[in-house]
């Protein structure tokens, strides 16, 4: 079964068409990257698949659940990490993980989820401090932990390493790879094309709401006779 099947997706904001008929699929255990410049429609596409936005036309299925009709079922297997996500500042990191875990399990299952969250976020003693006192990197690690601790079948990660320093960014990439090894399908967006080349099994280049090319990094580089994905993207939009 496909983790995500998007067919002819169109999303309008009033008279503005943010997504113009995109189609793609994400397989189980795969990292699929949507890459493109700011305003290309990456976040809108991810938010729509994450059940946050309505669909203007086209169709989306997540592990067979049709959106928006079966959004409630889809939410049980999706975990979404927004680009500029935050956590509740008056809660400690631990309280925040507990809060999220309670939506996904009780008793032993709840304990397992929280334990996984603690391991992924790897904040040590600071997990008992208020989120308000965390640095941006620590908050992002907590949020990545939150997103992946619930064992989602599909993780939707919007710019997962945005604003992080090299060390924290590498740590987040490692966490994502570990999750995929455990069977999670990952759909991520980034405008950091070199990072996507490193991380993703397959890539779709998106510009002005349309997918202009897709394939593995090697396929795209070969198709556009480019040395890296960034160069391939520039050639693709010309």
């Amino acid at each position: 079964m496909k983790a995500v099947e998007v067919r002819g997706l169109v999303k309008d904001y009033g008279n503005f068409r943010a997504i113009n008929g995109i189609s793609f699929e994400v397989n189980e255990g795969e990292i699929f990257g949507l890459i493109g410049p700011n305003g290309a429609g990456k976040t809108t596409a991810l938010r729509t698949i994450a059940t946050l936005l309505q669909i203007t036309s086209g169709s989306i299925a997540v592990f067979g659940y049709e959106l928006p009709k079966e959004a409630a079922e889809a939410r049980k297997i999706i975990s979404y990490l927004p680009e500029e996500a935050g956590a509740y500042k008056n809660l400690t990191g631990m309280e925040y993980l507990n809060f999220i875990a309670k939506f996904f399990g009780e008793g032993e299952k709840f304990q397992d989820i929280v334990q996984r969250g603690l391991e992924i976020s790897n904040l040590g003693e600071r997990i008992n401090d208020k989120v308000d006192t965390y640095s941006k990197g620590m908050t992002r690690r907590l949020l990545v932990g939150r997103a992946l601790m619930v064992n989602p079948r599909l993780a939707i990660l919007d710019e997962p390493t945005s604003g992080l320093d090299v060390v924290n960014a590498q740590e987040v990439r490692r966490i994502i790879n570990s999750a995929v090894e455990a069977g999670v399908a990952v759909l991520l967006s980034s405008h950091n094309m070199l990072e996507v080349e490193l991380l993703c099994h397959r890539i779709a280049l998106i510009n002005d709401g349309k997918i202009i090319a897709s394939g593995t990094a090697e396929e795209l580089k070969m198709e556009y006779d480019a040395g890296n994905i960034e160069e391939a993207f520039v050639k693709a939009i010309k």
Binding site: D12, T51, L52, A72, R75, Y80, P82
Partner: protein
Amino acid sequence: MIGNIIRKEFKELFVISTLIPIVVIAIVYGSVGNMIGNIGETMKEKPVIGIVDMDNGNFSDIAMSVLTERAELIYDGSDTEDGLEEVRKGNGVGLLVIPEDFSQNVYANNPGEIEIYWIMRGAGILDSISSGVGEGLVQAVNQEISKTLIQQDISSDPTLVLNPTIRSDTTFFKGKEIEGLSPSQVSNMLSSQSIVIPIVVMMLIIMAGSSVISSMGLEKENKTLETLLTLPVRRSHIVIGKMVGSALVGMIMAAIYMIGFSRYMSSFQSSDINLANFGLALSMQDYLLIGVSLFIALLAGLSLCIVLGTFAKNYRSAQALIFPITALALISVFITMFKDFDTIPAVLQVLVFAIPFSHPMMAMRALMLDNYSLVIGGIAYTAVFMVVMVWIAVRIFNSDRLLTGSVRRKIGLGRLALGFRRS
């Protein structure tokens, strides 16, 4: 340079979204003021009264001349029942009955009794102004007779000279006959007993409402809303969870406030009044109804706040959105304090009834006067208001509006209802 900064600040702060609520509220307050009327004019108006003079003596003649000059007589006859009927029909304040032995008693150095049958229509502060003017008439009669006693050297008893008349008050109010109290005494008594609930409701609504609107603003400002909306939880549960959580916070804050306020209010209340003596006591069932009314109104207010909160872009804009809630709560407090529901114009009755917070504010006084239909009708309306607001909030939570500030397109009622069921 400073002008540049002032221009920037002005443009940033003076925006249409903050202006509209203030303009609307200003118009509402102005209209309410016009509809309630002018206190000064009411006080200048001659009170409409009836007189039954059974004495026809020298002192009752003095009383009659004072009353004829200062009041508008609607009845001048000898039958108390007929007089009361005429006063009721003519929207008068009361019937003054001067008994047969009035002048004789004064001549015998005993104060002459004037029986006053008051027709009280409302227990609000403004409702009792006309009867207050009526009470002033009796005082004027008293003074005129005092003057005569001194001028004609009729009595040397200073007590009699200073107070040659005594009043015997009976107030008819909403089908109850309250002996021994004038309308202003009844009004004061009811106000002192029922003022606490409007203040509690106002503080609850403002504090809990402020919490729920701020919570929506903070969700957006802290970028936690998107995560919340992708969790496997029904939208209706998110809305209700926010409402109940805020209600708890609001209740704690209001309780702390009320500890101080009740101490303050207790200094105004007399402890020797027993409402049961006047048929104005509340039963356990009445207190239960007040509790239900208060609880439903709180939830209705919070559901309205949730809908308003969806418009908050951040914590700062959330603070501005609290203003309309505060203003509505104040309108309810002031109208119910100054006027009874029955004595305000029809347009204001609709406004007061439409504001869900008004109902618990009016409930205590209404139940004292056995007006169950107003209280039960208010509870039913408030419950419907709450359900509609929660429904709207859930619809907004299901739409793009919460994240993008726009709604995808107009959706038919059938689809809306379907969406609510799914949520």
